[in-house]
C-alpha cells in the first residue's frame, strides 16, 4: 500500500503541489482549516514544516489525529476505535520523514497517511504544506468487505468466468434432467466431458465478447493519463459499440475539451500578467533615465559655476545659467507630461464632452503659435472651413492635441521652413492635418513615436525623434473621442500628422474603466497609414487594444515581442514581399497569434496553405472586419475544429459544438457560406437539409473551392431515400439531428477531429 510508494513518486507529487501549498499558512492552521471529512479517507498529507524540532511538529500531528482536529472521528465519537500506526524513517542530519497510518476498525477504513518532512536548518520561507493526490479510493479501502466475486480480477477474466460457470450449470442441469427422465441412459456418461468442453467454450466466448470493451477502457485510461499530464497532446479514445461506454466516452471528450480550453485561458491570463510586469519595469527604467539626463546637465553646470565662479567670463556664466534653467524646464515638463499620461491612463480626468463646432477652438489654438512661427521665421498657414460639422468633443483637450502637434512641428522645422494646419471634412469625419517640412520620420518609426515609452527603449532609433510623451498624450485624447491619429512622412521632406474625429458617434462613448482589460490585442499592419488608423479605430470602439505597424520589418518586430492575439496585415508592403512576410510571420517562435490577411483579391488557397486563418478582401466592411477578428480570437482558445453551420435552423447546434471545444461559425444562407468557405480556414461544414434542395451545385462548389477539402455533413431530421442517394453521389456524410440531441452531432464532429489528428500523426 502506501508504504510501497516509491520515493520518486512522492517527490514528484510534492513538486507538483508545492505551488498550491504556498498559499497555506502554518501547519496547525492547515490542520484546522482542512475539511478532514470522510472523503479524505486515505488522503496522504505531506507537511513540510519550518521547525527545527521534529518532536514539536510531531506532537502537533498527534494532536490533530487523536484529538479534536479531525472532524469526522470526533463527531461520531469513534475515537476509541481508531488506531494509529506510526512509522518513521530517513532520519538524518538533513531532516526526517515521519508517517503514520490510521485505521478504523468498525468502519473498515484504513490507509490514512500523514507525513511530515523536516528540513534542518529550517527554511526561511513560509512553511509549505503539500497535499498529495488521493491514493486510495473508497473501493480499495473497503476491499475486505467487497461483495463482488473475484475481486481484483480483470474484466475479461470475470466475464470468462461468468460464461464458463453459466455453461457448466446449463450442462449439469441438462444432465440432471436427462438422468431423471431416463435413469439408465448411457448418454449420462457424456456429462462430465461436455461440461468440460462447455466451460472452455463459455470462457472463450465470454472473453471475446468483452474484448472490445477492454480495449476501450485501456484507450480511455491512456487518454485520461495524457489529460492529467498537462500539455500532453490529446490521445484519441477508441470507438466503442456499447451504448453506456459510448456515453462515458462522450462525457470524457467534453471534459477533455473543457480542460484544454481552460488551460488555454489560464495561459492567456498568465501571459497578460507577465506583460504587465514587463511594462512596469520598462516604465521605471525609462522614467529614471529621462529624469537623470537633465539632472546630469544641471549638476554638471552648477558645479562648474560654483568651482569657476571667479575665472568664468560673464557671458559663459550667463550661458551656464540658461542651460540650467532650460534643463529645469525640461524636467518640469517631463513631470507634467508623466502626470498627464498617468491621468489619461487611469481616466481620472473630468471630460467635458459636448457637441460643438470646433473651428473656433482650432483657430484660437493656432493663433498661439503665430508668434513662435514669426520668431523662428517659419511660414505658418491655417486653413479651416467654417462652420465645421458638429463633433462630440472636449474643446480644452482638442486644443491640447493641437498645441502638442504644432509645437512639435515648430520644433523640428528649420528657419525658413513651412508649417501648415489644415482641416477638412472627409465623409463622417473631420480630419486635422499638421504638416511640416522638418527632417521627417522613417516608416519604421511611425508607430513607435506614439508609444508611451517604447521610443526611448529602442535606443538606437529614438533620440533623434525625441518626441517624448506629447504624441502619446495626443493619441490618448483622440482615442477617447473615438477618433484616430496617424502620421505620413518622407525622410528629408517632412511629416504630416493627421487627427480624425468622427462627426457622428455610433454609440455613446464607453465609460472606460481602467480595471477593464481589453478584449484582445490586435496588431494591424498596412502600408497606408490612414487605412491602418481606420481599422484601429473600428477595433478600439469594440475594446480591442490595437498596435500599428507600417512596414514588414516593424510588423515582425512587434509580433515577435509577443502578447498579440490577432495580426491583421496587408501583404503588399513596401519593404517585404508577400510570401517572405507570411513565411516569417508563421515561423515566429512562440507564435500565439492568429493571422488575418487584408488585401486585394488574391489566391486564398495559397494564403491558407501558408498558414493564414482568414482573408479579408478590400474594401472590407466594419462588420466583416469585426467578425473575422472575433473568429480569430475564439480560434486562439479553441481546441477542436472550425465548423461552418449553413442554415438558420442549425443555430441551436452552436452551443453544443462550443462546449465540445469546436468553433462554430454561422452562415444564414449559401451566399454567405460560399464567401466564408473561400475566406476562412475551415475544417468542416454542416448543412441543414432544408437548405439543400436548390443548392446542390453550390454545394459542390463549396467542396471544391475549399483549399483543404473540408468535410461536409448534412444534418437532417430523418433520412429519406433521396437524401441518401444524393449523399452517396457526392460522398457526403449524413447526421440525424433530433431536437434536444445536439450533442450527438457534436460527438460526430469530435470524431471527425480525431480522424484529422490521426491523419496528422501519420
Amino acid at each position: 500500500m502506501t508504504q510501497d510508494r516509491s520515493s520518486a513518486t512522492e517527490r514528484e507529487a510534492i513538486h507538483r503541489l508545492v505551488e498550491l501549498a504556498r498559499k497555506d499558512g502554518r501547519p496547525d492552521a492547515f490542520m484546522a482549516k482542512r475539511n478532514w471529512s470522510r472523503y479524505m479517507l486515505g488522503l496522504p498529507l505531506d507537511i513540510t514544516a519550518d521547525c527545527e524540532d521534529p518532536n514539536a511538529v510531531w506532537a502537533g500531528i498527534m494532536h490533530n489525529v487523536s484529538g479534536g482536529g479531525i472532524g469526522f472521528w470526533s463527531k461520531r465519537d469513534v475515537k476509541s476505535n481508531t488506531r494509529v500506526f506510526v512509522r518513521e524513517y530517513s532520519r538524518d542530519g538533513g531532516g526526517a520523514w515521519i508517517e503514520c497510518r490510521v485505521a478504523h476498525s468498525t468502519l473498515g477504513l484504513q490507509g490514512f497517511l500523514i507525513g511530515a518532512r523536516f528540513e534542518n536548518p529550517a527554511p526561511r520561507e513560509q512553511p509549505t504544506i503539500v497535499e498529495t493526490p488521493v491514493e486510495l479510493d473508497r473501493q480499495t479501502a473497503q476491499e475486505p468487505g467487497s461483495r463482488a466475486l473475484l475481486p481484483r480480477r480483470s474484466l475479461s477474466t470475470k466475464c470468462a468466468f461468468a460464461c464458463a460457470t453459466t455453461s457448466c450449470l446449463g450442462i449439469v442441469f441438462a444432465a440432471w434432467f436427462c438422468h431423471t427422465l431416463w435413469p439408465q441412459n448411457w448418454l449420462f456418461w457424456l456429462v462430465p466431458i461436455s461440461t468440460l468442453l462447455a466451460s472452455g467454450m463459455g470462457a472463450f466466448v465470454g472473453w471475446c465478447i468483452v474484448d472490445d470493451e477492454i480495449r476501450f477502457l485501456k484507450g480511455l485510461r491512456e487518454a485520461v493519463c495524457s489529460l492529467a499530464r498537462s500539455g500532453g497532446s490529446p490521445v484519441p479514445v477508441p470507438e466503442t459499440p456499447s451504448r453506456e461506454l459510448g456515453e462515458l466516452r462522450q462525457a470524457f471528450m467534453e471534459l477533455a475539451a473543457q480542460s484544454r480550453r481552460r488551460e488555454g485561458e489560464q495561459r492567456l491570463q498568465r501571459e497578460k500578467l507577465e506583460e504587465l510586469n514587463r511594462i512596469k519595469s520598462n516604465i521605471l527604467s525609462v522614467v529614471s533615465h529621462d529624469l537623470r539626463t537633465p539632472l546630469t546637465s544641471i549638476l554638471l553646470y552648477a558645479q562648474m559655476l560654483k568651482e569657476e565662479l571667479q575665472s568664468l567670463a560673464e557671458e559663459d556664466q550667463k550661458r551656464f545659467l540658461d542651460i540650467i534653467a532650460g534643463e529645469c524646464n525640461r524636467l518640469s515638463r517631463l513631470v507634467d507630461d508623466l502626470l498627464e499620461v498617468q491621468r489619461l491612463e487611469s481616466d481620472r480626468i473630468q471630460w467635458d464632452i459636448k457637441p460643438q463646432d470646433l473651428s473656433e477652438t482650432i483657430r484660437t489654438g493656432a493663433r498661439v503659435f503665430e508668434a513662435m512661427a514669426m520668431g523662428k521665421e517659419i511660414a505658418f498657414t491655417v486653413e479651416c472651413p467654417e462652420p465645421l460639422p458638429t463633433v462630440e468633443a472636449d474643446s480644452e483637450k482638442i486644443s491640447q492635441v493641437l498645441s502638442n502637434l504644432l509645437s512639435n512641428a515648430m520644433k523640428y522645422t528649420q528657419s525658413g521652413g513651412e508649417v501648415a494646419l489644415s482641416v477638412e471634412v472627409r465623409g463622417a469625419n473631420i480630419v486635422l492635418c499638421v504638416a511640416d517640412n522638418g527632417p521627417g520620420i522613417p516608416r519604421d518609426q511611425w508607430d513607435v513615436i506614439f508609444d508611451r515609452f517604447t521610443q526611448l527603449t529602442h535606443s538606437t532609433q529614438s533620440r533623434n525623434s525625441g518626441v517624448g510623451l506629447g504624441l502619446n498624450i495626443v493619441k490618448r485624447i483622440v482615442e477617447r473621442h473615438g477618433g484616430a491619429v496617424w502620421v505620413d512622412s518622407e525622410v528629408g521632406e517632412g511629416s504630416r500628422f493627421f487627427v480624425s474625429l468622427p462627426t457622428k458617434v455610433k454609440r455613446p462613448l464607453p465609460e472606460s474603466d481602467p480595471s477593464d482589460a481589453p478584449v484582445g490585442r490586435v496588431l494591424v499592419c498596412d502600408a497606408d497609414p490612414e487605412l491602418a488608423a481606420m481599422i484601429a479605430q473600428s477595433l478600439q470602439t469594440e475594446r480591442y487594444e490595437v498596435r500599428l505597424a507600417y512596414s514588414g520589418k516593424r510588423l515582425l518586430a512587434q509580433a515577435e515581442e509577443g502578447q498579440i492575439d490577432v495580426v491583421i496585415t496587408d501583404v503588399l508592403l513596401p519593404d517585404m514581399d508577400s510570401s517572405e512576410l507570411l513565411a516569417h510571420l508563421v515561423a515566429l517562435p512562440h507564435r500565439t497569434f492568429r493571422l488575418i490577411v487584408h488585401s486585394y483579391a488574391c489566391d486564398t488557397r495559397q494564403l491558407k496553405r501558408q498558414g493564414v486563418d482568414a482573408f479579408l478582401e478590400r474594401p472590407t466592411s466594419r462588420k466583416e472586419l469585426l467578425q473575422a477578428v472575433t473568429v480569430a480570437m475564439q480560434k486562439r482558445v479553441q481546441t477542436g475544429l472550425t465548423v461552418l453551420l449553413v442554415g438558420r435552423q442549425l443555430r441551436p447546434l452552436a452551443p453544443a459544438l462550443s462546449r465540445a471545444g469546436h468553433l462554430p461559425i454561422i452562415a444564414e444562407d449559401f451566399e454567405t457560406a460560399s464567401r466564408l468557405v473561400c475566406d476562412y480556414s475551415l475544417n468542416a461544414a454542416l448543412i441543414a437539409e432544408g437548405e439543400l434542395d436548390e443548392q446542390w451545385e453550390r454545394l459542390r462548389e463549396i467542396g471544391i473551392r475549399a483549399d483543404d477539402p473540408i468535410r461536409l455533413m448534412i444534418v437532417c431530421e430523418n433520412l429519406q431515400k433521396r437524401q441518401k442517394l444524393l449523399a452517396e453521389e457526392y460522398g457526403l456524410q449524413t447526421v440525424i439531428l433530433e431536437p434536444g440531441k445536439e450533442s450527438v452531432v457534436a460527438a460526430e464532429v469530435s470524431r471527425l477531429q480525431e480522424s484529422y489528428l490521426e491523419r496528422m500523426r501519420r
Partner: protein, 130 residues
C-alpha cells in the same frame, strides 16, 4: 598632447564635459553617436574614450563591444557614462570589458579625478574655487 574622445547625444552634456575636462595638454574631440565614436577612434586611437550608453544609430554598448574586438583598441581606457541605472548590466559591462562606469548624474569633480588618474596627469588643470 592627450587626446580624449567624448560621445553623448545630449548637446549640453557634451559641451559641459568639454568645458569640465579642458586643459593645456589635452585635445577633446566630440561625437554624437556610437558611429561617431568608432569613426573618431579609427582616425586616431585616443588616450581615453568617454561614452554614453543610450545614443542614436549605435548605442554605447555596441560601440564598446566593437572596440574591444579590435586588437589596437583592446586596452583603450574607456569610461561609460550611463543614466540607465541597471546595476546588474553595469557590473557585467565593467567585468567583461574592463571599463570604468559612472552613473548619471555624476559628480563632476569625481569624473575629473578619474580622467586625471587614467591620463596620469595632474588632476586639476583648472584652479578650484577655494
Amino acid at each position: 598632447m592627450k587626446r580624449i574622445v567624448v560621445c553623448d547625444d545630449e548637446l549640453h552634456i557634451l559641451e559641459g564635459l568639454r568645458h569640465l575636462l579642458r586643459g593645456p595638454d589635452r585635445k577633446i574631440v566630440i561625437g554624437h553617436s556610437g558611429v561617431d565614436a568608432l569613426e573618431q577612434v579609427r582616425q586616431e586611437v585616443p588616450d581615453l574614450l568617454i561614452i554614453d550608453i543610450m545614443m542614436p544609430k549605435m548605442d554605447g554598448i555596441q560601440a564598446v563591444a566593437t572596440l574591444r574586438e579590435q586588437e589596437e583598441t583592446r586596452h583603450l581606457p574607456i569610461i561609460i557614462l550611463t543614466a540607465k541605472g541597471h546595476a546588474r548590466d553595469v557590473a557585467m559591462v565593467q567585468e567583461v570589458w574592463n571599463v570604468r562606469v559612472m552613473a548619471k548624474p555624476f559628480e563632476p569633480a569625481k569624473l575629473r579625478q578619474l580622467v586625471a588618474e587614467i591620463l596620469e596627469t595632474e588632476p586639476c588643470t583648472v584652479p578650484s574655487s577655494n
